[in-house]
């Protein structure tokens, strides 16, 4: 049901061109959303996924704050750093292990996506115990602290979704 409404609204948003939407577009949106919802009907949200948590506006505000302030600043710094490494070719790659101790799938996904989007670090694998294997473009320490790899991302992921 969630997928149905989300894809229905997304289709209408994409075909909307300022004025009123033609009735035929509603029919197309209904058809496509039905197909999508049927195709994804075996998708079961993880056990901690609840709509009360997801719809809490405070969470959305703190999520937006996280995306634009701590994550945005880290993204900017890391982009400059990797840009310099591309030009100079000064790399020392390796795959390091981190254990941020996150419980839910959603918080692990937020952290893994944040790590991957930040240049210089790339999540290669996450195992069942929640250990992250991160490819790091310049290994300063073979057993790094969490602070060195992703700063405060883990505590943010815990606050947002754990």
């Amino acid at each position: 049901m969630f997928i149905f409404f989300a894809s229905f609204l997304m289709y209408l948003l994409l075909v909307w061109s300022g004025g009123t939407i033609a009735p035929v577009e509603f029919a197309v949106a209904f058809l496509l959303a039905t197909i999508l919802a049927l195709a994804a009907r075996t998708w079961v949200p993880s056990y901690r996924f609840s709509f009360l948590k997801i719809l809490n506006p405070l969470r959305w505000i703190s999520f937006l704050y996280y995306v634009f302030v701590p994550f945005g600043i880290a993204l900017f710094k890391a982009n400059i750093d990797v840009a310099i490494r591309v030009i100079t070719g000064n790399i020392r790659p390796g795959i390091v292990k981190l254990t941020p101790d996150l419980k839910s799938d959603l918080s692990r996904m937020i952290l893994a996506d944040s790590i991957t989007l930040t240049p210089g670090t790339l999540t290669v694998d996450v195992d069942d115990e929640g250990a992250f294997y991160v490819h790091w473009i310049y290994v300063r320490d073979e057993n790094p602290s969490e602070e060195e790899i992703y700063g405060s991302f883990a505590s943010w992921a815990r606050r947002l979704a754990d």
Binding site: M10, L13, L14, W16, S17, G18, G19, L75, A78, N79, V82, A83, V86, I87, G89, I91, R92, P93, G94, I95, V96, K97, A112, D113, T116, L117, T118, P119, G120, L122, T123, V124, D125, D127, Y133, H135, I137, V139, E142
Partner: protein, 126 residues
């Protein structure tokens, strides 16, 4: 289109093109698939974010000055494209890196590989 908006759009476009071209350069300079993923996906994300930002600034100023709603629609579509790009870029980069590691492609010049150690397989000489 005032001079200030024009400068902002130009600045965003230049930064975006700079990072996109660095992404291309990194494909040639880096030694293996993992380091190339860093260059290609990260620089193109940042580059595409800035070019998208240029489109949003341009269309919003056109909307505010001329009031044509098609510019507002274009800005919204660009914003949706940027959000989708961020999520799919991270997921795709992660999927490619994981598939590469499962196909036993060793990271070249790597000083440490904890994942291979965990799986208990010996690394080939780099």
């Amino acid at each position: 289109m005032g001079i200030v908006e024009g400068l902002f759009v130009l600045l965003f476009l230049l930064v975006g093109i700079f990072f996109n071209s660095l992404g291309v350069v990194s494909l040639y300079r880096f030694p293996d698939v993992y380091t190339r993923m860093h260059g290609a996906t990260k620089c193109s994300t940042f580059g595409s974010l800035f070019t998208g930002l240029a489109v949003i600034v341009y269309t919003l100023f056109r909307y505010l000055s001329a009031g044509e709603s098609r510019f507002l629609v274009l800005a919204i579509h660009t914003f949706v494209a940027m959000a989708v790009l961020l999520v799919t870029n991270a997921t795709g980069a992660h999927a490619i890196a994981r598939a590469a590691h499962r196909s036993r492609i060793d990271p070249k010049f790597a000083v440490v590989d904890r994942l291979a150690e965990k799986e208990g397989r010996r690394r080939r000489a780099a």
